[in-house]
């Protein structure tokens, strides 16, 4: 009996030991919420630059909202937030009032005048609903500008959808449920009960998984009647068009069917992300287009591509293709230029773009650039002066069963030329300054506050608030900048405007919070360099492993030292030459005197 008891106790202890080994493995996750990378590419902890201030679940805002279904995009302007709830074929407009978010309206369909209606023809009927709207761009525009650029003709007699229904097939007897009319506002005038498009959900020509097409014209739900000077550009992906409408949802123009030789005959325009600049040029990232962004003019006609990503073919791949037989070559994946996956504009109208379909090795080498800043010529003008290229995570260890480079899916540019990139796979946000130095990274995979199941889009409400949309979990996280983050912005701004001493003071304060932050050492060093305190500057640059700036400081320091001691050096040199000569002469004279 006794040995059995002993043995079972031993077994129990062994089991305990087994579990003891497991528990410490998942430790201090929260300590590492925000981090930067040091010179050696190791992550080092950083104070939080952004803190979660709100987590927004649509079902708690308004019962009408329900849940998101594969929401794809988020756009913030002033106090309004627009969410493209692609799976539900709707765009949601929220307003931030005193820190809480309230529903303004849910947009299912648009108003069309008789004049514009033909442009909305999809299949064989006029369809003013949204079908998988992937992205929305909101452009502030005054009424005068709108009239000057687009006239007022689009506001003519409303198109009568019920008449259309009568003439088209009556195959589907679905009718709008009553609830859809519950919050109908002033502008949803022309009610289109059952204004059903010709396409049924089952024969839509789209890749899997296919969102269900809107089977009838649903009325918009309006909770608040706001007056704003905005225009909307909506990427109505599976209707193959980009809709341009005013704030009251009256369609102004439709971008569709781009005509170009580079596009095949059976090309289908599937716009996914859009942006419109000050000159009303619309840039569209469309599925399957590898030549860059499609550019459309004010009238909606295709004018060309911008920022074609160049093809990167590695030496080994070239060699391999040489060796392969023709069949093998055809079977292996075609090496085409990479596709952009998102676009956003900064305050000057430069395009910030992200690409995720890149080879890890190319990203590491810097031959592939996951984030770009394009000028109007489509040239990448992003400055990459940091100790590493802006590529997100530098240590690619397996985190939550994902290894490899970060995959950027969205980017936002702030007014001070810093920009944030959103990494889909690890759910992280990386902030870079205008020189391409990593300021901080935060976020993670997960479901708790500040973590994302699959972050798909983000935007900034103002310069200090970021909203991040989680496509899988269907919620929005609001981040607000902490004092630490504000200090970094302050230091950057002071340096940019030429107040070097003041910026150094701020960098010193930042160092008190975060001694790991190499950029702060460089900031102080630069200020000292400008002031002419070269030796001190060298010390700071050495702390930050910034050999370029160290070299600059050292050059000046060397000059100083040489100038200081050159006189002594010359004196010593002359002395070394002259004194022996004098001695020799004296000796000679003595000899002569003696001999004489």
């Amino acid at each position: 009996m006794k040995p059995i008891a002993k043995r079972s106790i031993a077994l129990l202890m062994l089991l305990c030991l087994l579990f003891c080994n497991v528990t410490p493995a998942m430790a201090d996750d929260d300590d590492w919420y925000t981090y930067t990378y040091n010179y050696w590419g190791d992550p080092v902890a950083s104070p939080n630059a952004y803190a979660v201030t709100n987590k927004i679940y649509p079902q708690y805002i308004d019962p009408e909202l329900g849940t998101f279904s594969s929401a794809t995009s988020l756009f913030c302007i002033d106090d309004l937030v627009f969410i493209c709830d692609a799976g539900n074929n709707r765009v949601i407009e929220l307003q931030k009032v005193n820190g809480t978010y309230e529903l303004v309206r849910i947009i299912y369909s648009l108003n069309v005048s008789k004049l514009v209606a033909p442009q909305l023809k999809f299949k064989d009927s006029i369809d003013a609903t949204l079908y998988n709207p992937m992205d929305i761009f909101v452009k502030p525009i005054t009424q005068a500008d709108r009239v000057a650029n687009f006239g007022t003709d689009y506001l003519g007699d409303p198109y009568d959808f019920s008449a259309e229904t009568a003439s088209v097939t009556q195959g589907n007897s679905l009718t709008t449920s009553d609830e859809d009319n519950a919050g109908e506002g002033g502008e949803g005038g022309e009610s289109g009960e059952g204004g059903e498009g010709g396409e049924g959900g089952e024969d839509a020509p789209t890749p899997t998984p296919t969102p269900v097409a809107p089977s009838e014209r649903k009325e918009n739900i309006v909770r608040k009647d706001l007056k704003r000077d905005y225009d909307f550009y909506i990427a109505d992906k599976l209707h193959n068009r980009v809709i341009h409408c005013d704030y009251n949802l009256n369609v102004i123009n439709v971008i569709r069917d781009p005509q170009d030789d580079t596009l095949g005959d059976n090309y289908v325009f599937n716009p996914e992300h859009i942006a419109t600049d000050a000159a009303y040029r619309t840039y569209v990232q469309a599925a399957g287009v590898v030549n860059g962004f499609m550019e459309f003019d004010k009238g909606g006609s295709f004018t060309g591509y911008v920022g074609a990503a160049k093809v990167i073919v590695s030496f080994w791949r070239k060699l391999w293709r040489k060796i392969q037989t023709k069949e093998q070559r055809n079977r292996s994946a075609q090496h085409v230029p990479t596709e952009y996956n998102n676009i956003s504009l900064d305050k000057n109208g430069f395009i910030y773009a992200t690409i995720s379909a890149l080879e890890d090795q190319d990203i590491w080498d810097g031959t592939a650039t996951p984030v770009r800043k394009l000028n109007s010529m489509g040239t990448d003008i992003l400055i990459r002066n940091g100790s590493a290229f802006p590529m997100g995570d530098l240590s690619w260890g397996s985190v939550k069963n994902y290894a490899g480079a970060s995959k950027f899916v969205d980017v936002i540019a702030f007014n001070n030329d810093t920009y944030c990139c959103l990494d889909r796979t690890r759910g992280k946000i990386f902030a870079y300054d205008f020189q391409g130095n990593l300021l901080y990274a935060f976020g993670n995979g997960g479901t708790t506050r500040g973590r994302f199941s699959q972050a798909v889009s983000m935007d900034n409400m103002d310069e200090e608030t970021i909203l991040v949309l989680d496509g899988t979990a269907g919620n929005i996280t609001e981040f607000s900048m902490t004092d630490y983050g504000k200090m970094i912005n302050e230091a950057l701004a002071l340096y940019k405007t030429g107040y070097y001493d003041e910026s150094a003071e701020v960098w010193k304060r930042i160092l008190q919070f975060n001694g790991n932050f190499e950029l702060a050492y460089i900031g102080i060093g630069r200020a000292l360099l400008r002031k002419g305190e070269y030796k001190e500057a060298m010390g700071y640059f050495e702390s930050a492993h910034d050999s370029e700036n160290y070299s600059k400081a050292f050059r000046h320091y060397r000059e100083q030292v040489v100038e200081k001691y050159i006189v002594y050096a010359v004196v010593v040199l002359i002395a070394l030459i002259v004194i022996p000569k004098i001695i020799r002469k004296v000796r000679k004279m003595r000899k002569e005197i003696r001999e004489a």
Binding site: A10, H545, S547, Y550, S551, F554, R558
Partner: protein, 225 residues
Amino acid sequence: MSKILSGIAGFFKGEGWSRYRKSFRYAFYVILHPFDGFWDLTHEKRGSMAVAHTIVILTVLTHIWDRRFTNFMLNNTRWSEFSIWLNTLGILVPLLIWVTANWCVTTLFDGKGRFYEIYMGTAYALTPYPLIGLPMILLSNVVTKEEGVFYTYFNTFALIWAGFLILCAVLMIHDYSLLKGIVVILASIVGMAVIMFVCLLFFSLISDAIMYLVSLYKELLFRIS
């Protein structure tokens, strides 16, 4: 091997010091006249083991000082992962394996050199490394990053020079033709790989065996108590 030890002892005997200085000066002759120099080094007994040891020690020191004192612009040493012992072994172990492998190979390919002669020849061939490396450490501290290319060029030159000298040493010590010498050097490198592989295998097997015994012992304790 006994020759190496006797070399150290020989230095402390009588006329050691003047002979030491003489053969040290001879090192400078060797690096400038390699064919002539390496022939006389062993055949005329003009080299000494004491000098060979000195040059090896200087090489190790140069390597460490290079990591420590080179200006940080040209020096990517990560101090948290720097170990003097690993850097010392990083020179000595490959040297020892090289000498062993070369001796093994040349014994089969009727080389004339003996183990200590190969060691001595290799050590003398390393002379350019401290000779150029030490001034370069000083130079690195008075140049900017752009001027730092001189540092890189001269150090590369020193390595190439040393490599050429090793080739000459093998040719002269074993009395080989050029082609045979190159083949023997390549064979020696393969031999080095084999020696390292066998060592790794040996150590991993030994550690496995020890681990086994340790766990066996623990298990026994567990059962008995």
